[in-house]
């Protein structure tokens, strides 16, 4: 069809442009990206929920993910139960933690400026990270369990790491659950009402503080659960959350600050973009590309790729 | 050449026509009032004049110069001062410092700015509260502070959005007495008010009536009040027929 394009031996060649793409490598990268992207989506959705309902810029988000990882890790090393079960416990623990933090620390500064909220959550994140450092030490750990080394093969050229697939499936299920919660339940609807108009919401009989507490706790739990699911396939160390806080913000801005669906899609997109960047330019540039995209979106279309213009 | 010309200006927000083909002119040293219920478009009109928004159609001219697409700080530099309906004082600064900010438009010296600010505050009878922090003032004084700050920029035209709303009748009348003197200082004023009040009647040279973004009357206060369209808008069709 196109005389300049030729596909031989699963390689795409564009004559004259000197481009050679290994199709299967690219496809593999896309698949890996989607797998990572599902976890990103979960983390991003949590942050979008928190920002949408409370306008809180949660700089501790990655730290909560890290706490979820450590919670799962401790339980795993103590009980030997699969992390794919334990992540739920981590989720519950972090939900409780989120609830307490909301009432103890965030509620008192309710009316204050963005500035102050950012600094407060930053402080919480620092305390969490260094608290964990004190207790567990700076060492990197990785867990070991039967499923770990297994790969699933698709044809000759594509393979997929089994633990990632399990994490992916669970993450997708959880993301859908979160979506349904926000869209269908009374609390979820109340949360959206507050997000749209925080002054009218209490007039509708909504208990704003309770809904905000639940939203924050859910957002934190989402991060914690993502951490639990990440544990099998990632190194665990106290500062692991830091990069995820930043990635979560990139995701949320990309997806439109308050849109849960946008965050989910943006998470997947980011995963794929990072994966392709790693393939063609090397791992080190993945985070940098994240930020460049972030800055471009902020400069050109602040409402996000998937977001709507806000008046 | 009029001081301010609104030349068939329209503005839409999404599907809503906030301002629909408005046209009038303000002369130098005039006091005019834009009258219309909340939502009639007064604040939008002020925002268009000062460049917070830009009109979809039409043009705005100030001293003959086209200002349809300027930015707010540029409008201030050209000599258009403005107060806000929901007062926006600089809360953590003192009254004097608030007004100095206006005075700084014409001088870079802090002492000169303070001097000029003091003069403005004297004119508005606010010397006693000069050193209080703005956040502690009652609404009547905050409204005066808005005016003081705008006056300190030595404008040729000052836009006063809902300047008497929230004030008791006596407070409003006291303010009106002060505003009446503005033309002596070379300042024309355009105020936005919700009701045709004693205030408007006693000091205005010209009145423009808006209803849902459309201009329904313009002229001297005495004339406008008798116009059937105005009576209908405010009191209903019944009264129009009664020929009040």
């Amino acid at each position: 069809m196109f005389p300049h394009l030729r596909i031989t031996n699963y390689q795409l060649q564009v004559h004259g442009a000197g481009v050679r793409l290994d199709l299967y490598a690219a496809l593999q990268a896309v698949i890996n990206g989607l797998l990572t992207g599902a976890l990103y989506a979960l983390i991003g959705m949590g942050l979008a929920l928190i920002f949408g309902v409370m306008r809180i810029v949660n700089f501790a988000h990655g730290a909560f993910m890290m706490l979820g990882m450590y919670a799962t890790y401790v339980l795993f090393t103590r009980t030997g139960v699969s992390p794919y079960v334990l992540f739920m416990v981590a989720g519950i623990l972090l939900f409780a933690a989120g609830y307490v933090i909301y009432f103890g620390l965030l509620r008192p500064i309710h009316g204050q400026s963005d500035f102050m909220q950012i600094l407060l959550t930053l402080g919480i994140g620092l305390i969490a990270t260094d608290g964990v450092l004190l207790v567990f030490g700076a060492d990197y750990h990785q867990i070991n369990f039967p499923l770990l080394g297994k790969n699933l093969h698709f044809g000759q050229h594509l393979n997929v790491n089994a633990p990632w697939v399990v994490s992916f499936v669970i993450a997708v299920v959880l993301a859908l659950t979160l979506y349904l919660f926000v869209m269908r339940t009374m609390t979820g609807r109340a949360a959206r009402a507050i997000a749209q108009n925080r002054y009218a919401a209490p007039l509708m009989g909504i208990n704003v503080f309770r809904v905000q507490a639940i939203s924050f706790a859910l957002g934190v739990a989402a991060a914690g659960v993502a951490g639990g699911l990440l544990l099998p396939v990632f190194y665990i160390y106290p500062q692991v959350g830091d990069q995820f806080t930043l990635k979560a913000f990139v995701i949320v801005v990309l997806g439109g600050m308050e849109s849960i669906v946008g965050a989910a899609l943006a998470g997947l997109v980011l995963g794929v973009v990072e994966s392709l960047t790693s393939l063609y330019w090397g791992n080190e540039w993945a985070l940098a590309v994240d930020f460049v995209i972030f800055l471009l979106v902020l400069s050109l279309k602040p409402s996000g790729i998937f977001g709507r213009q806000r008046a | 050449m009029s001081l301010l010309e609104i030349d068939h200006v329209s503005k839409r927000f999404g599907g809503l026509r906030a301002i629909n083909n408005i046209a009038f002119a303000i002369e130098e040293n005039e006091i005019a009032f834009i009258v219309g219920p909340n939502g009639a478009g007064k604040t939008t009109l002020f925002n268009l004049i000062t460049g917070v928004f830009h009109p979809d159609d039409g043009a705005i001219r100030f001293q003959g110069k086209d200002i349809t697409h300027i930015s707010p700080n540029h409008a201030a530099r050209l000599g258009i001062g403005r107060t806000f309906q929901l007062v926006k004082p600089l809360r953590n600064l003192t009254v004097l410092e608030n007004v100095m900010l206006g005075a700084f438009l014409h001088t870079s010296s802090a002492s000169k700015a303070a001097e000029q600010a003091r003069e403005v505050l004297k004119y508005l009878q606010m010397e006693k509260v000069m050193h209080f922090t703005a956040s502690g003032l009652p609404i009547a004084l905050l409204k005066r502070l808005e005016i003081a700050r705008a006056l300190a920029t030595k404008p040729r035209l000052i836009l006063l959005d809902e300047v008497v709303s929230g004030l008791s009748t006596s407070e409003a009348l006291a303010l009106a007495e002060i505003l009446k003197k503005l033309p002596e200082w070379g300042v024309a004023a355009v105020g936005g008010v919700e009701h045709v009040m004693q205030v408007v009647m006693s000091i205005a040279h010209r009145v423009v009536v808006l209803d849902h973004g459309t201009q329904i009357a313009e002229g001297k206060p005495g004339e406008v009040v008798r116009m059937p369209a105005v009576i209908e808008a405010y009191l209903g069709a019944k009264y129009k027929e009664l020929g009040l």
Binding site: I124, A288 | L93, L101
Partner: protein
């Protein structure tokens, strides 16, 4: 600031210069160096974050620009160290123009995130271009001073703090300072009196960047070696912001007091818990936000004002009743 206060500041400055006559222990001088350096950094940040009210969490960009310019222009290109430090200032100004130009158009949290993103991009560039910047391994930094190094660097830090302090005093008294405060309190109001918000914010950032870059060059030169994760890290940005917030953003003394408190606390903490000194930063940050939102100096100032106001009211009441 009243004359008497300025005089007091001058006295403190002179006394600070005399400290090395009494204190000779190297590690004490290094701690004092750090306190003064972060006082200068806090004062520099304060212009943007305190007076103009723009929460920049990406000041490490300018800090690192200063350090890396010194290292690369001098170490790699053979330029004399002090010229290289000045070139670092130029680089920081260029960065500030770019960062400010993009970020100041954004409001609220978007602005903060943009400043972080820029700083992170710089860090990653430094990490990933080893041929240019030495990468993760780092790069050597030439010495700006020879001989009694710790004393010289200490004096330099005191000097930089004095410059930053004087700059802050000058700005706070001038129209520029008032304009910045207006922008902080309410940008729309500021526009309505003719203040060019973008222009003034950028000016504050440029001045801030110059001072921060000089501090970065000093820091790099003291340690003679820098890596990206040290001078371009988020931790640096955070520490600078915390110093100013703790002491009182928007006040003149605030960042100095904040640095004294924070750096001393960190030093003490380090003796008990070797690695987790960030914990104290987090705790102080939470304490400040919850209990001392105006910082130490800000809260003291508010208390004194309230006393004066009450005193004034009591006095005039007495006048009325003729006591």
């Amino acid at each position: 600031m009243k004359r008497s206060h300025l005089l007091a500041a001058l006295v403190v400055f002179i006394l600070s210069l005399l400290v090395p006559a009494v204190v000779q222990k190297d590690f004490v001088l290094q701690i004092l160096f750090r306190i003064y350096l972060f006082a200068a950094l806090g004062l520099a940040w304060n212009l943007v974050g305190g007076y103009a009210g723009q929460l920049s969490l990406g000041h490490s960009a300018y800090f690192g620009a200063g350090a890396y310019s010194l290292a690369l222009f001098s170490g790699r290109l053979g330029v004399s160290p002090w010229i290289a430090a000045l070139m670092g200032v130029a680089v920081a100004l260029a960065c500030a123009l770019l960062i400010g130009g993009v970020s100041f158009r954004l409001r609220g949290p978007y602005f903060v995130l943009a400043t972080i993103a820029f700083a992170e991009v710089l860090r990653l560039i430094a990490k990933n271009l080893p041929e240019v910047t030495g990468g993760d391994v780092g790069v050597q930094v030439p010495a700006l001073f020879h001989g009694n190094v710790n004393r010289a660097f200490y004096w330099a830090a005191v000097g930089l703090t004095a410059v930053a302090f004087a700059t802050t005093v000058a700005i706070s008294r001038a129209r520029f300072g008032y304009y910045l405060m207006a922008i902080r309190e309410d940008e729309d109001t500021a526009l309505s009196v003719g203040i060019g918000a973008a222009k003034n914010k950028l000016a504050a950032l440029l001045i801030s960047a110059v001072l921060t870059a000089l501090a970065g060059a000093l820091y790099g030169s003291l340690f003679l070696y820098i890596v990206p994760d040290q001078v371009l890290a988020l931790d640096v940005s955070n520490e600078i912001a915390i110093v100013a917030m703790l002491g009182g953003a928007g006040t003149i003394l605030g960042p100095v007091v904040g640095s004294v408190v924070l750096e001393s606390a960190a030093e003490l903490f380090k003796n008990f818990f070797k690695e987790a000194h960030l914990l104290i930063y987090g705790v102080l940050l939470v304490v400040v936000v919850l209990f001392l939102p105006e910082g130490i100096i800000g809260t003291l100032g508010a208390l004194l004002r309230r006393r004066a106001l009450l005193g004034g009211i009591k006095a005039s009441a007495r006048g009325v009743t003729g006591d």
